[in-house]
């Protein structure tokens, strides 16, 4: 059906409420769309003024200044608007956490220190209110990482499980999933002499020698797990099938020791990053650094070893009292200048929608704008091996696209149209619903008696 796009443009909010009651207009019959007239930031070349993007069968079919529009295409008038790849938040707990303080709604952190067989996708709740809230601000895909719970917090053991990449739309994980396993989450055992204890609400101090002993024990155990996984892989390949006993934990570690599955190593301090890198190098693991608050202190190392970084929020306090006050915001530009690939991430759930704000703040402190855009789209896709599907507006890639009324990193910018898996997707969500509901509350409130 050819919808004349002008009327859409004027009444976009109402139209979406009415026309797209669910997450997508349809999934059974895939619609062809032509997004026309907007400035297209493909992130794979110079922006195209007044260009056209054709989406067909869930994928980008064509993009350019002079593209033939198929006769069956639904027209989306993007005149005066801007078109970008959807934003990608690569470390979150979306779907695994609904209300942080309510343990019944938490599926982030399993008991035990070594859980390589756990996969985030297993328990992502497609009905979570966070999904629709987050996508309304232009985030079209995320990775949920078990064992992470906010920046600077290691919640779920040492090997916490496998992170999963998925679209922020779909009725089931089957529809949402991009890749079930994109990385093994390893919370690097940090040497911490002071730790905040939530049960007593006090800072607990431990002597360095005790902490170091504990650290050595953990690293030896981690090493032992990887050795056993190697032996397991050998036994599976060369041993007698009759004598072979399956071990699900070791089996899950095999792609890690074979270098096929990267390890997402959560570490922030210089010492921890150095230790983790040394360990991964020795073990031949493919390391992605997550957090990296003090990555600026180890730039040479990260560059030499080609270790990409998933950066925690730029809007956070510096690590030390005498660290420059703006270090978390200037660090991305330093990493860029040093040639280290990085992506921004929220490391959260409710704050996932702050992803563009984190990138924008880095621009304010020196990161080139186009690099910041890549660091919320393409870079994460590249780091996790998904760049053949996501991250730019190029033919053949998935139709995850946002149409905005301005710079997507700017606070006031609104997303006008949202495409996920090539489907025009509703931006309605819990917050808009509550807003509309209470905005309509009659004015004649019965006041509290004086």
């Amino acid at each position: 059906v050819k919808t004349r796009a002008r009327s859409w443009g004027r009444t976009w909010f109402v139209a979406i409420l009415v026309a797209i009651p669910t997450w997508a207009q349809s999934t059974a019959t895939s619609t062809t769309y032509a997004i026309q007239g907007g400035k297209i930031f493909t992130l794979a070349g110079a922006p195209i003024e007044k260009g056209t993007v054709i989406i067909r069968d869930g994928k980008i079919a064509a993009v350019g200044a002079n593209v033939a529009v198929p006769s069956d295409a639904q027209m989306i008038d993007a005149t005066g608007l801007q078109v970008y790849p959807g934003l990608f938040d690569p470390v979150t707990q979306i779907g695994l956490s609904e209300v942080s303080a309510v343990s019944a709604t938490q599926d982030i952190s399993e008991l035990g220190d070594y859980n390589p067989e756990l996969v985030a996708a297993t328990a992502v709740n497609p009905a979570s209110a966070h999904i629709a809230v987050t996508r309304a601000d232009g985030i079209t895909e995320v990775i949920a990482a078990p064992g992470t719970a906010g920046f600077d917090s290691q919640a779920g053991g040492i090997i916490a499980g496998q992170a999963s990449a998925f679209h922020l739309a779909g009725w089931t994980m089957e529809e949402m999933q991009i890749k079930r396993s994109v990385a093994m989450v390893v919370n690097w055992p940090s040497i911490q002499t002071r730790a905040f204890d939530f049960s007593t609400f006090r800072v607990k101090q431990k002597p360095y020698s005790d902490v170091k002993k504990e650290y050595d024990k953990n690293v030896n155990q981690l090493s032992d797990w990887l050795d056993r996984a190697r032996h397991y892989a050998q036994a599976k390949e060369k041993g007698s099938p009759a004598l072979f006993e399956r071990d699900l934990k070791l089996e899950a570690l095999v792609p890690v020791v074979e270098g096929k599955l990267p390890v997402l190593v959560v570490a922030d301090e210089e010492r921890d990053i150095r230790n983790a890198e040394e360990f991964c190098s020795k073990q031949n693991l493919k390391m992605i650094l997550a957090g990296g608050a003090e990555a600026w202190k180890v730039k040479e190392l990260l560059k030499d070893k080609k270790i990409p970084v998933i950066l925690g929020p730029t809007e956070r306090l510096p690590e030390e009292e005498d660290t420059p006050y703006d270090k978390p915001m200037t660090q991305p530009s330093e990493l860029f200048a040093a040639g280290i690939p990085f992506a921004f991430s929220s490391f959260g759930t409710a704050f996932s929608r702050r992803l563009p704000q984190y990138a924008g703040s880095a621009v304010a402190y020196g990161l080139p704008h186009d690099e910041a855009l890549k660091a919320v789209t393409l870079n994460a896709a590249q780091i996790f091996g998904l760049a053949d599907q996501l991250g730019t507006i190029e033919p053949g890639k998935l139709g995850n696209i946002i149409v905005t009324n301005g710079d997507p990193l700017e606070i006031q910018t609104q997303v006008r149209y949202l495409f996920i898996k090539g489907q025009l997707t509703s931006m309605d969500n819990r917050h808009r619903e509550l807003y509309e509901q209470y905005r309509k509350r009659p004015k004649e409130a019965e006041q509290v008696a004086h």
């Binding site: 303080a101 939530f198 049960s199 009292e321 005498d322 304010a364 807003y435």
Partner: protein, 471 residues
Amino acid sequence: MKRARLGIAILLTAAAPIATRAQNPDTIFIQNATVLTVTHGNIEHGSILIRDGKIAAVGADLKAQEGVTVIDASGQFVMPGIIDCHSHIAIDGGVNEGAPAVSSMANIKDVLNPDDIDIYRDLAGGVTAANILHGSANPIGGQTIVIKLRWGKPASALPFEGALPGIKFALGENPKHSNFTVPPGVAARYPATRLGVEEVIRQAFTEAREYRKQWDDYNQRKAAGEQNLIPPRRNEQLEPLVEVLDGKRYVHVHCYRADEILMLMRVANEFGFKVRTWQHVLEGYKIADELAAYGAGASTFSDWWAYKMEAYDAIPYNAALMTERGVVVSVNSDDAQEARQLNQEAAKSMKYGGLSANDALKLITLNPAIQLGLDNRAGSIDVGKDADLAIYNHDPLSVYAVVQKTLIDGQVYFDRERDIAQRAELAKEKQALLDKEKKASEEKKPEKKPEQKNRPPKSDIADGGAARGAL
């Protein structure tokens, strides 16, 4: 720990020249700026004349007189200093006296820490004043104080002169310890329900009334000339509540759910006191008309939600919707980092709910000033007000805006250029101190002291459910 202390020492030295140099009651002239007055529009190529720490003139046609200190702000934006209506910076030790359900005897004023580095960091985010609150562990919490972020000055110079002191109340999950694991061997503290929270407040004010009556009787009899009177025993827990009843102390109420807000309105009306600000007030949008009719201010977050059950109905449209219905609204930080980006958080109310740019600015300037009873002193760029100003390189409602200078009482307390220029020297100084210490420790071989890390989270949204139980 040692590293951390070193840091403070260095930064103090760094701040000193700024403070001393500016101590002369110089006349300062800021020129060529876009002046966001908040009360009377934006002035392009505008100037501000500052004399004796006050704004002496504002306009487009001013000329710098000879001998004045000129700050050229070409291409830059000057706005009133940000007022953070909910902060826990500059507090020494914990923010909660959580043992009793009524901890009104505890006073934040007694534990102000002028060396807290977060004062400097927030100053660098354009914040000039902050409402320093006790935590939310109790239905009636400790006494609170408004400060100016006069980094480098002693604790005695921090309080905002003339600001009425306050007291923190708290409703809902935090005072009833919903998200808090009681350590083994410690008895759970009453209350554990919203019913009990109301009862604690009612009981406390019943006692406060009785206490006030005892003193009134005593003072009357004394005034009548009666001899050999024994005064009532002083009660430091009830005295701040008497001040509340007498309108001499503001009540700042931590609250989330609409029903508990209405509950406190009823209690306050019954006992004859007035709530000054509703803090957090995440469900304020549900009862915006009641809030407007009651007349107290609402101080909320921009977009925090889902960190606990009572925050699950929080919406980023809260500030805009309440404003639309006539409530005086501010956006606060509750967190030393969030305070550094309050300009961005205010801008979100333009995106969510369509506030105008000027109304968005009010959320962090004039409105918190009104809420704290300080709008005759701060919150806008008007003649006669304190010269508390933030200078940005871009429109402060943009994510790309960076604070260049922050002035309090007409003195430059933060200067980005100076901060950057001093870094190399500070790093050198630090290295020298570290080397010296290393040398000394090699000679003496003392036991290693642990470093300061993982400071306790100060905010309501800090990591981990239990933490939320207490701020």
